[in-house]
């Protein structure tokens, strides 16, 4: 059983079309289309090792080096025509990114997104060892950053959420962001501790998620002036 956000019903203040969020979703889908069209498994694996971020690639500076921290954000695991990895990340990005982008503006939001992604990559590198050859792929680190920013900026906002018990229950709940994201953070933290102690068997990069989430703390550097003014004066964004 788990909770799945399917939308944020609350209105935006500045711009009704979230250009940057749409662009990011499209970019991820296009890269996935290339992955899907690449010969399987050789072509796909070559893409993962070239564009995915392995700590040793960054540390020893070969291949794409530091740039793999950025390219890996657009890669997702190939699971047929529909990838749950891609769909999950993009739904989370759409749900939480729309209002965060509204508070930042598209350009600053893009920079924030990559900053959170880089924070995620750095924590992943430090946690998994500088010479680990296993690459990590996915937008989830950056998306975690967007979720962290959402929690800081709109803790009381309601998220349209569905329960998933074997199959999705078609009656959405309107959970406050605080009650959705804090349990989510705890759910990331516990397996991350397991992984640090060498017990974790999951292929999920929990430290990447945590890195992105803590990277969200830099959101104050990317807010619109008006939005920051609202925030510091205690008026809702």
């Amino acid at each position: 059983m788990f909770l799945f956000p399917i939308g944020d019903p609350e209105g935006v203040r500045y711009r009704s079309i979230p250009i940057a969020t749409i662009a990011l979703v499209l970019a991820n889908v296009i890269v996935y289309a290339f992955e899907f069209l690449a010969p399987y498994p050789e072509g796909y694996e070559r893409m993962v090792y070239a564009l995915g971020m392995a700590p040793t690639v960054v540390h020893n500076q070969f291949g794409f080096g530091a740039l793999s921290g950025v390219t890996s954000m657009f890669m997702h695991s190939r699971e047929g025509l529909l990838s749950l990895h891609l769909i999950g990340n993009m739904v989370y990005l759409w749900t939480f990114g729309r209002r965060v982008e509204d508070a930042c503006g598209p350009v600053r939001y893009m920079v924030f997104y990559f900053t959170a992604g880089l924070c995620s990559a750095l924590l992943f590198i430090l946690a998994s060892g500088l010479d680990s050859p296993i690459p990590v792929i996915g937008a989830s680190g950056a998306v975690s950053g967007v979720m962290g920013a959402y929690l800081i900026l709109f803790p009381g906002a309601r998220i349209r959420t569905i329960f998933w018990v074997v199959v999705p229950i078609p009656y959405p709940l309107y959970l406050r962001a605080f009650w959705f994201l804090i349990p989510w953070l705890v759910y990331q933290l516990l397996p991350a501790i397991d992984q640090l102690q060498g017990y974790g068997l999951s292929s999920v990069a929990y430290f990447g998620h945590l890195g992105g989430f803590f990277g969200a703390l830099s959101i104050f550097l990317f807010l619109r002036r008006d939005a920051l003014y609202r925030y510091v004066t205690g008026v809702d964004l």
């Binding site: 203040r13 080096g65 920079v111 990559f114 880089l118 009381g156 703390l217 925030y231």
Partner: protein, 406 residues
């Protein structure tokens, strides 16, 4: 000489303020004694308070309850009503002392019986009980408003006559005047409503609901400024209806007071989430936002902050580009990272606390310490950015020098 005169005036003012302060202190002690059933001590303390400040309304009211001799009680009440004819509690008590054989307690008993009859739901019985109250005190606001409510819209002329009669007995009561204005409004006598409303002074009303009623009446009569003032007073009082903010916001917006209108609209959105009014407020907020004072928008911390975001991004890329080698970094680079980490943490903790506190709806908690934390965080972050920039420039200069030397 003028200096001497001013000094004497100031001394007199200070002396008067001291006496008022002492009188309030004695009153508080007297009330405490009365509540602990030490009647004689309470009477002495309250009498002393009245020597220092003969116009102390609270002391007079409590003295009228604790004085041993009935004539002293009546004298206190008479003085209090003379001082403030709108003091309903004093007026009712004085009336009861003069009219009811059992005094104030007897009238209270009648009111309690009427209240329980109303709660019981029997209309006829409740009307009879309230009329019994009105027999002893025809100007009793509580009884009149209860009877008007029970009579309903079928007996408007009767209700208006009742209120008019009550006003002849109790001409200073703001609540009765409001009831009369409402009765006139129901008969579409708007000119009369406009004449009655200004006679209700803000001092006559003490409940948010009364100010809301007055605001609505002013609004219906087309007196926008007066309506805004009434709604503004209502929202200052506890237990006001959340939608009063909506009325206030619309009036402020209409009169061009955008800053206050924005605050009022935000209150509507926060307090009445999901209602049509909240949606309208949200819509209007979008139209009149963004709202940021020019002085803040152009201030250097706001401009520097935007540059800092880019620098942090470039800085992270540089850390990745160096192969995450802390040992290979210069001392200033390490110091910049540490400062950024500490500053970012301060800023983040401040933000997280603000978010949590806001979520639980208690904005006032720890506001000062959060602001201090944020200021410290911003200062450290700016220091980190400055150091990071210095580090980058120095590295670039060293690189250029190396290239130049071949």
């Amino acid at each position: 000489m003028p200096i001497m005169a001013r000094e004497t005036g100031a001394q007199a003012t200070w002396s008067r303020m001291g006496m008022l302060h002492e009188s309030r202190k004695l009153t508080a002690e007297g009330i405490e004694a009365a509540k602990n059933r030490r009647q004689l001590q309470a009477e002495a303390l309250l009498s002393d308070a009245l020597i220092l400040d003969p116009e102390n309304e609270e002391a007079l009211l409590w003295l009228s309850r604790v004085a041993v001799r009935p004539e002293d009680r009546r004298a206190s009440l008479e003085k209090l009503v003379a001082l403030n004819p709108a003091n309903e509690a004093a007026r009712v008590a004085l009336h009861a002392t003069q009219r009811h054989p059992q005094g104030e307690a007897g009238l209270r008993d009648l009111v309690a019986r009427a209240e329980s009859a109303t709660a019981g739901g029997a209309r006829r019985g409740a009307l009879a009980a309230w009329k019994a109250v009105l027999d002893f005190d025809p100007g009793n606001e509580q009884a009149v408003s209860a009877v008007v409510r029970l009579l309903g819209s079928d007996h408007r002329p009767q209700a208006r006559a009742l209120v008019q009669r009550a006003l002849t007995h109790n001409p200073h009561n703001g609540g009765l005047k409001l009831l009369y204005a409402e009765a006139l409004a129901e008969s579409n006598r708007w000119d009369d409503v406009k004449r009655v409303l200004p006679t209700v002074g803000p001092r006559d009303l003490s409940a948010a609901q009364a100010f809301e009623r007055m605001g609505r009446l002013h609004l219906s009569a087309g007196q926008m400024t007066a309506a805004r003032e009434a709604f503004a007073r209502a929202v200052e009082l506890p237990d006001h209806a959340p939608l009063t903010h909506f009325q206030l916001a619309r009036l402020l917006d209409r009169e061009g007071m955008t800053e206050r209108a924005v605050v009022a609209y935000r209150e509507v959105v926060d307090r009445t989430w999901g209602t049509p009014e909240a949606r309208q407020a949200e819509q209007r907020l979008r139209e009149i936002s963004p709202y940021l004072p020019r002085s803040v928008a152009d201030s250097w911390p706001f401009i520097l902050r935007e540059a800092a975001g880019w620098v942090v991004f470039v800085f992270l890329l540089a850390v990745m580009d160096s192969g995450v080698r802390v040992a290979g970094m210069s001392a200033s680079g390490v110091a910049a990272i540490m400062l950024a980490a500490i500053g970012g943490t301060c800023w983040a903790v401040s933000g997280a606390v603000t978010g949590t506190v806001r979520f639980f709806g208690a904005r006032a908690i720890g506001q000062g310490s959060r602001r201090a934390l944020r200021v410290a965080g911003v200062a450290l972050c700016l220091a980190a950015v400055a150091l990071g920039l210095f580090n980058s420039l120095r590295s670039t200069a060293l690189l250029l020098a190396r290239i130049h030397s071949g």
